[in-house]
Symmetry: C2
Subunit: 100 residues, 2 copies
DNA sequence: GCATAATATGCCTTGACAGGAATATGCCGG
DNA sequence: CCGGCATATTCCTGTCAAGGCATATTATGC
């Protein structure tokens, strides 16, 4: 799954957002997301495959941490479009505001 | 379709890239993409729904132009992660380089 | 070695999207 | 009003991902 596809899912974006505050065990993420454990585990696998998170084993637990390096690809892609909206933002207003 | 989902498809990113050079008729895009016309037309519909392109009618033709405003949402989302890779880039090297 | 906790994997169903082919719509010139 | 061009829409099929459930794996404590 490409980086673009990986971040196109809201649940995965939520996981990434949670990991901004530091390394967390899979179980903590399950609890925070209030979602079935297998579901979270599967999303973590996608994120692992996309290189967006890294995992290390701590006893019985798996600790996940954010690896934002692949996001540089998105950033670079976005860069070539920045000129097309930065000068219009004031006119268009911001239909924004998300943190997941 | 969300902005994230809209840009997750390579064909649609290619269309957006083509529109950076200015307004173009649907037919021109079909020719540039070397792809069946209905296919392109469908992707244009997704892009329209996502607000990433705008269309105006010119006689029998449809002229499409880029509207990058929704990309500001991606940019804002990305902003909260920039701190996580900008300080590591030199160590990781760039596995990048795309223009579609 | 066994029970148990933490996590991953497998299977199933459903829905969404991609690609292709055929067809419909809209606009124009004659 | 008819034929032709430009574009959209529809139908079909294959694939893939999401969500839910059951089950397998792995490590720990006893």
């Amino acid at each position: 799954m490409s980086t673009f596809a990986a971040i196109s899912d809201p649940t995965r974006r939520e996981i990434l957002a949670l990991l901004r505050s530091g390394e967390q065990a899979a179980g903590d993420l399950v609890e925070a997301l209030k979602r079935p454990q297998p579901n979270v585990s599967k999303h973590l696998k996608y994120l692992r495959d996309a290189g967006l998170v890294q995992m290390r084993i701590d006893g019985p637990r798996r600790l996940y941490r954010l690896d934002a390096a692949p996001l540089a690809e998105i950033d670079q892609w976005l860069a070539s479009y920045r000129a097309f909206w930065s000068d219009k933002l004031d006119a268009l207003g911001d239909h924004l505001g998300r943190s997941d």
